[in-house]
C-alpha cells in the first residue's frame, strides 16, 4: 500500500487523501488486483512568504511576492505534485492474457508550489 502522507486539514499546499476504487469506475471484471489504491491529489494555498516545507521553486517565491503586492493582477502559484510513486496493476487484456504492468506516477507523495 502506498504510504499515506500526513493529511491534516491545513490550508497550505499539501497532499489530500483520494482513494480510487476500480469498481466505482466499473473496471472490477477485468482488473484482477488491486481493487483500488490511494492516489491522493494536491490542494491548498501557496501564501507569501512561502514556507520552506512547501517545496517551492524560485519562481513560485517571486510569484507569491508579486501576488501579495497585486492580488488582482497575479494569482498565487499552483499547488502541484512534486514527487509521485508508481503502482503495478494485474489485469486481463483484450485477448484474455494475464498482464502485470507497471504504471509510473500514479500516487502523489509530495506537493509543492
Amino acid at each position: 500500500s502506498a504510504p499515506s502522507p500526513p493529511v491534516t486539514p491545513s490550508p497550505l499546499c499539501k497532499p489530500r487523501r483520494l482513494y480510487i476504487s476500480f469498481s466505482d469506475v466499473g473496471w472490477e471484471n477485468w482488473i484482477i488486483a488491486p481493487q483500488g489504491y490511494l492516489a491522493n491529489y494536491c490542494g491548498g494555498e501557496c501564501p507569501f512568504p512561502l514556507a520552506a516545507e512547501l517545496n517551492s521553486t524560485n519562481h513560485a517565491v517571486l510569484q507569491t511576492m508579486v501576488h501579495s503586492l497585486d492580488p488582482q493582477g497575479t494569482p498565487q502559484p499552483c499547488c502541484v505534485p512534486v514527487r509521485l510513486s508508481p503502482i503495478s496493476i494485474l489485469y486481463y487484456d483484450n485477448s484474455d492474457n494475464v498482464v502485470l504492468r507497471h504504471y509510473e506516477d500514479m500516487v502523489v507523495d509530495e506537493c509543492g508550489c
Partner: protein
C-alpha cells in the same frame, strides 16, 4: 465509454475496455511479483519500475499468453512419437515501441511422472519454429532439444535468444512441439505414458514499455 473513461484507458496503454471471456487463472509467478512490488516503499518502487527483480531482467510489463494451438495430426500420434502439437500464441496485444527482454515457455502436465520410461529409455522433446498451420519451417533445425528420464509437472524453457530479445516480436508466434520416446525395449505406445499427462502450455513475455526508454527531467 465516457470520454473520461476512454482517456483514462488510453493513459494506461489500453485501446478499449477489456471484457474477459474465458479468463485463465493468474500464474503464481505474477502474483509473487505483484505482491512483492506492493511491499516496496515508494522511492524503491520507483527505482525498480523498469526491472522485474523476480525474473532478473529489465521490464515494466509481464504478460502470460495462453496457447491457442491444436494437436497434430488429429487423433493418436503413431510409433515412437508420443505427442505432436502446434503451439500458437497471439502476440497482437504487444504495443509498438515495446522491447522484448525475456520469453519463457512453460509446459504443464497433470502430474509429475514418477515412473518414467523403462530403464535405458528417455523421452525426447523438440521444439521447432512453425507456420501458423503447424508446418515446420523448412531447413531449420529445432529451436531446442531436451531429453528427460522423468517429466516434472512444469517444464520451463527460455526462448529469449530464439525470439531475439530486444527486437519487437511478430504479431503471433507458432511453434511445433514434439515429444517422442527412444531407446530400450517395450512397445512404443507404452513408452509414451508420461507425456499423456500433457495439460497446457503458456508463454511468458517480459517487455520494456515506452515509459522505460524516455528519460524525463524532474523538478
Amino acid at each position: 465509454l465516457s470520454p473520461q473513461e476512454s482517456a483514462l484507458l488510453r493513459s494506461l496503454g489500453l485501446s478499449h475496455k477489456p471484457s474477459p471471456k474465458s479468463p485463465a487463472p493468474v500464474p503464481p509467478v505474477l502474483w509473487r511479483i505483484f505482491h512483492k512490488r506492493r511491499t516496496l516503499p515508494g522511492p524503491q518502487a520507483e527505482l525498480e519500475s523498469c526491472r522485474v527483480e523476480e525474473l532478473n531482467v529489465p521490464g515494466s510489463i509481464v504478460r502470460v499468453f495462453a496457447d491457442q494451438g491444436r494437436f497434430l495430426p488429429e487423433g493418436q500420434p503413431q510409433g515412437r512419437l508420443c505427442l505432436r502439437k502446434l503451439l500458437f500464441f497471439n502476440l497482437s496485444a504487444l504495443e509498438e515501441g515495446e522491447r522484448l527482454t525475456m520469453a519463457q515457455l512453460e509446459l504443464r502436465f497433470h502430474h509429475s511422472s514418477y515412473h518414467g520410461p523403462s530403464p535405458g529409455q528417455v523421452l525426447e522433446l523438440r521444439l521447432y519454429r512453425a507456420s501458423p498451420r503447424g508446418l515446420p519451417r523448412p531447413g531449420r533445425g529445432p529451436l531446442l532439444e531436451r531429453s528427460f528420464v522423468q517429466l516434472r509437472k512444469s517444464l520451463l524453457f527460455d526462448l529469449s535468444a530464439a525470439l531475439k530479445a530486444g527486437e519487437a516480436p511478430a504479431r503471433n508466434l507458432a511453434l511445433l512441439l514434439e515429444i517422442s520416446a527412444s531407446g530400450g525395449p517395450g512397445s512404443p505406445r507404452s513408452l509414451c505414458g508420461a507425456s499423456d499427462a500433457f495439460a497446457a502450455t503458456s508463454l511468458l513475455l517480459v517487455t520494456l514499455g515506452r515509459q522505460c526508454g524516455a528519460a524525463r527531467s524532474r523538478r
